[in-house]
Symmetry: C2
Subunit: 100 residues, 2 copies
């Protein structure tokens, strides 16, 4: 399992509209093979910044399975217009984890 981390800077004043479109768009990501869950979170220090965390079975399920799908085109059409700059997307593997 790997974690996709995307930092999303949304155009000023369009945060509510972006969040609404995200509730429509999430059906497309959650239908992807290898998708294991996600959370969208809003930054407390910078109100136009969000972080999208997505658990994927492996790198390919995100980069090939989702990004080359028709669902990704629908996801992009709903969301990409809100980004102020192109999102930084990275993938991470777990070193240590502790949940209480």
């Amino acid at each position: 399992m790997i974690l996709e981390v995307a930092i999303l800077d949304v155009k000023n004043g369009l945060e509510i509209e972006f969040e609404k479109n995200f509730t429509l768009a999430r059906q497309y990501i959650s239908a992807a093979v290898g998708y294991k869950g996600h959370s969208l979170r809003k930054c407390m220090e910078r109100p136009s910044r969000y972080i999208l965390l997505v658990d994927w079975e492996n790198l390919e399920s995100h980069e090939v399975g989702f990004r080359k799908s028709n669902e990704y085109e629908k996801w992009k059409a709903l969301l990409h217009k809100y980004y102020d700059s192109f999102p930084t997307v990275e993938h991470y593997q777990t070193v240590h984890e502790n949940n209480i």
Copy 2:
């Protein structure tokens, strides 16, 4: 509940040593009042980059409770020498979440 997100760029070649010290340091963060869990993850695209995700009860439990504690001094002594640049630390509130 809020999420602390820290991007940690570790000095080249010191990744293994940093990870070892992290296993010692984590006792100090997990003893903090309001700490709810953490994960340390390693970037697949940039091998010297890590992300530390910490669930806190609220902003104060991190910024006051932990950062003003003696445990934070021990945490810092174990970890801060490995950072190539000062970490970017932000806090996030959940907008949407889905775990399958």
